[in-house]
């Protein structure tokens, strides 16, 4: 493949009427990569935590998701149970092996398996790396304790979002990624905004195309508010 690579790169340089970029130019581009400057960031996402919570909740609701807010991880099993009951859903769950979700996994209310989703799983519970208030998006990353299949295979997706991980714009979520994964991104980073949908049949909007039909977010106040 080296020859095609060379041919394509040569073709680009020829079209620009130049050879390799100068060393200075290359250094300037490397500096830009390192500085990764942001373009204009929409003002709507600027504000304090209360503003972020309100904006995030409004945005998730606008795309047919639901949002609950609880005071700590201890309250999660009951909150999940209440929501499942309100939707008339069973209490059999596939749960990400993240220790913060252990309280749900051991709770007598639930029948549980931990790990990657199985094809027959109806309800998945996972945990977000960040919430993005700007668009009501949840950022989930793949890893040993956070299987990506939980985000897509089950019909119902419940996501726990630590309140401390709620950010304003995309750029703040990128900053969290860079801090947490300094050696490179995990295999998969998903930004999830509402349940799966399609408009492919006569431009009729339908939820639950291939991914989850329902999306529920539980914001967990994991740090005492100032």
């Amino acid at each position: 493949m080296t020859s095609s690579r060379t041919a394509i790169l040569e073709s680009i340089r020829r079209a620009h009427g130049r050879g390799d970029l100068s060393a200075d130019r290359q250094q300037a581009l490397r500096d830009r990569l390192k500085a990764h400057p942001a373009a204009t960031i929409p003002a709507r996402s600027a504000g304090d935590q209360d503003h972020r919570i309100t904006l995030f909740t409004d945005m998730v609701t606008a795309v047919d998701g639901t949002v609950d807010r609880i005071s700590g991880w201890d309250a999660l099993p009951q909150a999940v149970g209440n929501w499942l009951k309100s939707r008339n859903l069973p209490t059999t769950l596939a749960i990400a092996p993240d220790p913060r979700l252990d309280a749900v996994a051991v709770h007598p209310l639930y029948t549980v398996h931990r790990g990657a989703a199985l094809p027959e799983d109806l309800i998945g519970l996972s945990i977000a790396e960040a919430g993005i208030a700007e668009t009501g998006s949840l950022m989930l990353v793949s890893g040993p304790e956070t299987p990506t299949s939980l985000n897509f295979l089950p019909d119902v997706h419940i996501i726990a979002l630590p309140a401390s991980a709620l950010v304003g714009p995309f750029e703040e979520a990128w900053a969290r990624l860079r801090t947490r994964f300094p050696d490179g991104l995990p295999r998969t980073v998903n930004l999830i905004t509402g349940p799966s949908r399609t408009g492919d049949i006569e431009q009729t909007l339908l939820l639950g195309a291939h991914g989850p039909r329902q999306l529920h977010v539980v914001i967990v106040d994991d740090v005492p508010s100032a």
Partner: protein, 475 residues
């Protein structure tokens, strides 16, 4: 994909007479256009972001070789493999050989216009590998054995009864008398059928909306989640992407993401924006074991440094076709190749040759709506005019058109004669239509008057009035 662009006129006539196209095209005009306008309205920074998006892409194209090499290095560092394909044949060959290396029998596919461009499905099928499209729209048109008619809504021309027919013909394992009259029933059936395909596939092939040089990530933006299941479940993930999809950093991707969904569907964000970086890591409970990226040139690099370079800023949102009066009248198939609408009319001649695609740059009224909504501020009307110039200088238009233009030029460059001739023509037309005030037939313009009447000219000619009102001396 084989082009039928040469028969554009016949295609367009057939489309205009196709009653099944009226409703979807009408719906598209109200739906997509209104939603885009609302989304743009809700983001005060939208116009600024369009300027920045344009500048960013220009920066990338200027330094494309550097960013491609940076991207390739980052993909390799994360355990992936990068393949470079000069043309469609090379890209098909690369994908086939990856499939063969893994003894693949079926591949699932996320939506990819590049795959359409290189005719991948037919090629894989010819080599005993079954490709399964998983985007609902793409799945429908695959069953109907036809190309997409819109870049983000590929089955927009298909009525739900036609979908039901295709499903009954294909899903023969299901009861013949099952109800399929509602979109929900159709979707649920497709979901169940395709779920099995996702789980069984050996290789998953997706496109890419963006490639991030900094991280070596490929990015797909979808609403259904099919692309995610495609790149998650099989043991091999292959990404097909053209060179110009590169952006330098995550921040640059954020800029374009803010423009893409709003311009395409009017959403603040699509349901799923997913970044893939290398294969699964040690300890990961799921994800593909192999990750390949195929970088396709196929005529793009030679557009750099030409008047068509600006076309490479395109992020494939489809806003230009949603707002185009010509697309709105004839739909996508009439254009005869992969990319319809204004972007197709510029891109198709660039990729398959102006000789093959000469009718397309003329399939425009140059009304400028496409440029007005293009998130990357691509001056589509200007680029269409460039193609018209090239077409003319290569003597491609028919003799009658060339003769007409020559006659026009002869008069237009002789002001005194022009004024005399327009006065005479105005007088002649007034005489012809003196009874009704309308002309039902015009010499040399029968095609135009076949469907409409023209009012007779009123008052003086433009030049005469202009002179009278501005006191300009005769030139």
């Amino acid at each position: 994909m084989q082009s039928t662009t040469r028969q554009f006129k016949d295609n367009a006539r057939a489309a205009l007479n196709d009653a099944t196209l009226r409703q979807p095209l009408q719906k598209l005009k109200v739906g997509f256009r209104v939603r885009r306008a609302q989304a743009a309205e809700k983001l005060p920074e939208f116009e600024t972001l369009r300027d920045q998006g344009r500048d960013l892409k220009n920066h990338v194209l200027e330094n494309l070789d550097f960013y491609l090499e940076t991207f390739a290095t980052a993909v390799e560092a994360s355990g992936g493999v990068v393949h470079w394909a000069r043309d469609a044949a090379e890209a098909r060959e690369i994908v086939l050989s990856i499939c063969r290396d893994h003894n693949a029998r079926t591949v699932t596919k996320g939506k990819s216009m590049i795959s359409e461009e290189i005719g991948l499905n037919a090629y894989l099928a010819d080599h005993d590998i079954t490709p399964v499209e998983t985007d609902l729209g793409e799945y429908i048109i695959q069953l109907r054995n036809e190309p997409p008619s819109h870049i983000i809504a590929p089955a927009i021309h298909v009525q739900k009864e036609m979908v039901a027919d295709a499903f009954r013909a294909t899903h023969t394992h299901l009861p013949a008398d099952r109800p399929l009259s509602e979109p929900r029933q159709l979707l649920d059936e497709a979901r169940a059928v395709l779920r099995d395909k996702f789980l069984a596939a050996d290789v998953g092939i997706t496109g890419a909306n963006f490639l991030i040089a900094e991280t070596g990530s490929t990015v797909i933006v979808t609403n259904e989640g099919n692309g995610d299941l495609t790149q998650l479940l099989p043991k091999v993930h292959v990404v097909l992407a053209s060179l110009e999809k590169i952006v330098p950093t995550l921040e640059d991707a954020a800029l374009l993401l803010r423009l893409l969904a709003r311009s395409a569907t009017g959403q603040e964000a699509s349901s799923y924006t997913s970044f893939s970086t290398g294969p699964r890591r040690p300890g990961d409970p799921d994800g593909p074991e192999h990750f390949h990226v195929v970088l396709l040139d196929n005529g793009r690099s030679r557009l750099l440094g030409t008047e068509f370079e600006e076309m490479l800023r395109c992020i494939r949102c489809g806003a230009c076709m949603n707002h185009c009066p010509v697309y709105g009248a004839i739909g996508g198939h009439a254009y005869g190749w992969v990319y319809p609408g204004p972007i197709g009319s510029v891109l198709t001649p660039a990729l398959i040759g102006i000789e093959e695609a000469a009718p397309l740059p003329n399939a425009s009224t140059l009304c400028g709506r496409c440029e007005a909504v293009c998130p990357m501020r691509i001056p589509l009307p200007k680029l269409l005019r460039h193609w018209r110039e090239q077409e003319f200088s290569r003597h491609l238009p028919p003799g009658r058109t060339r003769l007409g233009l020559r006659v026009y030029r002869w008069f237009a460059t002789r002001p005194a004669l022009w004024r005399l001739a327009t006065r005479a023509a105005a007088l002649g037309l007034r005489m012809m239509g003196r009874k009704t005030g309308f002309l039902t037939r015009l010499p040399f313009a029968e095609d135009w008057t076949r469907h409409r009447v023209m009012p007779v000219p009123q008052g003086q000619t433009f030049m005469a009035r202009y002179r009278a009102e501005t006191d300009t001396p005769e030139i």
